[in-house]
Symmetry: C2
Subunit: 431 residues, 2 copies
C-alpha cells in the first residue's frame, strides 16, 4: 500500500518529492563500449550485440516489405480501426501547433520573423518486451510527418523469433515510416548516432527505453545528436477532493502503478475520508490486474498525502513537478492558472490519464523525474528548428545604424561597427 | 587569407564543412573537480577558485545596490540610449513569440490545448574579458522577463579590481535583474547547478563562455539542469553574387573573423570576379581593425568557395548549417524557402550580421558548430515549458472510450483499459 502522510510541514516537502534513485554510473562503461564497437564495425557489431543481448541471430536488420504486409494480416480489424481513430486525434492536435509566419517591423524598415524547418533526419526508438508500444509510434511518428522530416528511421529490438511485433509494424506503415530496423538497446542508439551500412545517422533521437537506452541517449549528445527529453520512470500525481469518485481515482493510480516497479504514484487530498475510500478501492481493483505484482511494488514507493486545502495541494504538485497531473476536483478548470510545473494535465472526472496515453490527441512523451520544471513534453516543435530571418531596408539601417555602432564600439568590436558604418556612408553618398 | 576552392565536387563537401576540432576531454577532469568542491563547500569554494583563476579576492559575491548605482554613472548617456533602443526592438520581437491558448476539440467532447509557463529559476552567464558583453544581457534577460521567470541570477567574472563592467550592470538593472554575482568560469556554472549560501540553484542555464564554461554546462545537465544550446565557436556563411557590394561583404566577413581566432568564415559565390573583389576589400579593411591579429588567424581557417549557381550555394549552406547566413544576392527573399539549416538569416545588402547581434530584435544566441541542423536559437520558448491540458466530457469519454480500451488491451496494460471501463460503466448506470 501507499505510504500515508498527514499535513507534512513545507520543510518536509523536498524529501517527499524525491524520486527513487536511478543508478546510471555502472551502465556508462558498457554503453561506451557498445558505442565504440558500433562506430568501428557498423552492422557487424549490431548483429553481434543482438545475438548477445537479444539472443537471436539477425540476417537482415531492415524489416522487409513482405514482413510489413504479413504484419497487416496479423492485427485485428478492431485494433486497426482504433489505431486509426487515435491517429486522427493526434494529427488534429499536433497540426494545430503549426506556427504561422508573423513578420514584425521592430523599427521602421527593420523586418524580423521566424520560419520553422523540419529536422531532416529523425530516429525513433520503440522498446521491445512483452507489450508492443505501438502507441509511441503514433506519438513520435505523427508529429515527425507533420513537420516534414525527410528521413525517419525506427528501431525496435527483435523478439526471440527475429520479429518485430505486428502492431508496431502496422502503425509505422500507417504513418508512412518505411525504414524500420530490428535493433534495440544501446546498440540501436549507437547506430543512429554514427550510422552504419544499413542504418542512417540521424540529427535527433526520440523515444523511451530502459536504463541502457537512456544512458546511450545521453552519450549520443556528446556526438552532436539531439534527444527529445531526459528520461526517468513514469509518474502520476492525483489531486482529489470530497467530490471525486474513489473508484475512478483508484484505477487512475493503478494504471500508473502497473507501468513498472519504479513507477511513482502520488495522491494528494484535503479530505481524509476520500483518501481512505480510494485506498479501499485500490485494494479491490488491484486483485484482477494481470500486472498486480508490479503495481503492488510500485505502490510501496508511492504516497498519499493529506493537506489543508486544494491550493496547498497544487503548491505541492508544482514543487513535485509531475509528468501527469490529474485534477479530480470540483471546478478543476478554475485551478489551471495555478499550475506551474507539470507535463500533461487531466481535468475532472472523465479525463483519465489513459486518454492522453492513447487517443485524446495530446502527446504522451512527457518530462518525468521533476524535469517538468524545465522541459516541455514532445510536440510538433520537437521536430523543427525555428530559423530567424531579417530583412532591413536602406531606411531601416539608417534608423538603427547609430544604435548598432555605439553598442559594437562599447563591446570593442570595430568590424561589427564598420559593417554598419560602410553602409551608412554608402547611402549618404548615394543620396 | 581565406583558402580558395573552385567547384568542389559534392564528395568533398563533408570535409569542407568540418569545423576546427574542439579539444574538450582534457578540461573534463578539472571541471569535475570544481563541481565537487562547489557542491561540498559552497561560497568558500567559489572564493577560492576566484582567487585562483581570476586572481582577485572577493568578499561579497553579490553585487551591491551601490555598485549598480555607481555603474549607472559610468555609462555614457549615448550608450544608455542605444541600449534602450535595442532593448525595445528585442522586446517587440520576443513579445510576438507569445502563444495564444488554442483549444482543439479533437473529437466531440474531447478538448485539448497547451499553456506556456515560465521556467521559474534561470541562470544567465555573461563572460568577462576585455569587452563587456552587455548585448547578451539583453538577449537572455529580455525573453526571461517576458516569459515571467521568477528568479533570474546573473553571473559574470570580476575583473582584477573585483568589479563587473558598468555596462553589464546598467543593462541588467534596466531589464530588472536584481541578483548579479561576481563569479565566472566553471565555478559559476557549478554554483548555479547546486546552489550555494549566496547563489541560488537554477532550473536552466543560458549564456556563452569559454571551453571551461561550455564543458561545465554540459556537466550541469547530468544534475538535472537544462541548458540553452550546446556551444561552439561563432561562424558566418555569406552567399554573394555579382550584384553584391564587395565592400559590405568584406566587412561582414571581418566582423565574424574578429570574434576569435577559432571563428569560421565561409564565402560562397557563383562569381569568381566578386570573390576576388571581396578578397581585395578584406585586405584593405582589415588594416585598421584593432583586432586585426585575431581576424587574420581566423581567416586562415576560413574558406571562399566558387560554385556553379546560387542554388548550389544554398545547398552547400544547408549542408554546412551555419549559425549566421547572409544572403547578399539579388532577390534574396526568393530563396528563403530553400534554406533548411541555419541559425539566423540576413537578407540583402542592408542586413549586416551586426544588426542581429545588437539591435534589430532577433536573438543572437544561436546554434553553432552544425547544431543548426537540430537546434533552434534562443527565443521566448527557451524560457517556458508548454504544458498540455485536456478536459474530456462524459460524451467525450463515451466517444473515444472504446478506442482507448482496445489499444490499452493490445499493449497489455489492463488498468489503463479499466480506467476507461469503470467510467463507461458508471455512465451507463447513470443513464
Amino acid at each position: 500500500m501507499m505510504k500515508q502522510y498527514k499535513y507534512p510541514p513545507i520543510s518536509e516537502w523536498k524529501s517527499l518529492c524525491e524520486r527513487p534513485l536511478q543508478n546510471q554510473e555502472n551502465l556508462e562503461s558498457q554503453v561506451k563500449e557498445v558505442f565504440s564497437e558500433v562506430k568501428d564495425n557498423g552492422d557487424k557489431a549490431l548483429k553481434f550485440f543482438t545475438e548477445k543481448f537479444d539472443k537471436v541471430s539477425i540476417q537482415d536488420l531492415k524489416v522487409s516489405e513482405s514482413e510489413i504486409n504479413e504484419a497487416e494480416k496479423l492485427v485485428s480489424e478492431e485494433l486497426k480501426s482504433a489505431i486509426k481513430i487515435a491517429s486522427e486525434n493526434i494529427k488534429k492536435f499536433h497540426n494545430s501547433q503549426q506556427e504561422e509566419k508573423n513578420i514584425i517591423e521592430t523599427t521602421e524598415g527593420v523586418f524580423c520573423w521566424r520560419e520553422s524547418r523540419a529536422i531532416e533526419n529523425i530516429g525513433i526508438y520503440i522498446p521491445g518486451g512483452t507489450a508492443p508500444l505501438f502507441s509511441t509510434v503514433l506519438m513520435l511518428g505523427i508529429p515527425a510527418t507533420i513537420a516534414g522530416c525527410q528521413n525517419v528511421a525506427l528501431c525496435s529490438p527483435p523478439d526471440k523469433n527475429g520479429k518485430i511485433n505486428p502492431a508496431i509494424l502496422f502503425t509505422a506503415d500507417l504513418i508512412g515510416i518505411k525504414n524500420i530496423f530490428k535493433i534495440g538497446g544501446s546498440q540501436a542508439i549507437a547506430a543512429l548516432t554514427f550510422g552504419t551500412e544499413t542504418i542512417p545517422k540521424v540529427d535527433k533521437i526520440f523515444g523511451p527505453g530502459n536504463q541502457y537506452v537512456t544512458s546511450a541517449k545521453q552519450l549520443a549528445q556528446n556526438y552532436g545528436v539531439a534527444i527529445d527529453i531526459p528520461a526517468g520512470p513514469s509518474e502520476v500525481l492525483v489531486i482529489a477532493d470530497e467530490t471525486s469518485t474513489p473508484e475512478f481515482v483508484a484505477i487512475d493510480l493503478l494504471s500508473q502503478a502497473e507501468h513498472g516497479t519504479d513507477s511513482q504514484v502520488i495522491l494528494l487530498s484535503n479530505s481524509e475520508k476520500i483518501i481512505n475510500e480510494i485506498n479501499i478501492e485500490i485494494k479491490k481493483q488491484i486483485t484482477d490486474l494481470p500486472r498486480k505484482e508490479i503495481a503492488e511494488i510500485a505502490l510501496q514507493n508511492s504516497k498519499s498525502i493529506l493537506l489543508n486545502s486544494i491550493n496547498e495541494a497544487i503548491e505541492f504538485s508544482n514543487y513535485y513537478a509531475p509528468e501527469h497531473l490529474i485534477l479530480a476536483i470540483k471546478n478543476a478548470e478554475n485551478f489551471t492558472d495555478k499550475i506551474k510545473n507539470a507535463g500533461s494535465v487531466f481535468l475532472g472526472n472523465y479525463s483519465p490519464e489513459s486518454a492522453g496515453d492513447y487517443a485524446s490527441g495530446t502527446n504522451h512523451t512527457l518530462p518525468t523525474n521533476g524535469f517538468a520544471k524545465n522541459y516541455s513534453g514532445v510536440s510538433l516543435e520537437s521536430f523543427v528548428k525555428k530559423i530567424t530571418f531579417q530583412n532591413i531596408t536602406k531606411k531601416g539601417i539608417q534608423n538603427i545604424g547609430k544604435t548598432i555602432e555605439l553598442m559594437a564600439e562599447a563591446e570593442e568590436l570595430m568590424a561589427h561597427k564598420n559593417a554598419v558604418s560602410v553602409r551608412l556612408k554608402y547611402l549618404e553618398n548615394e543620396s
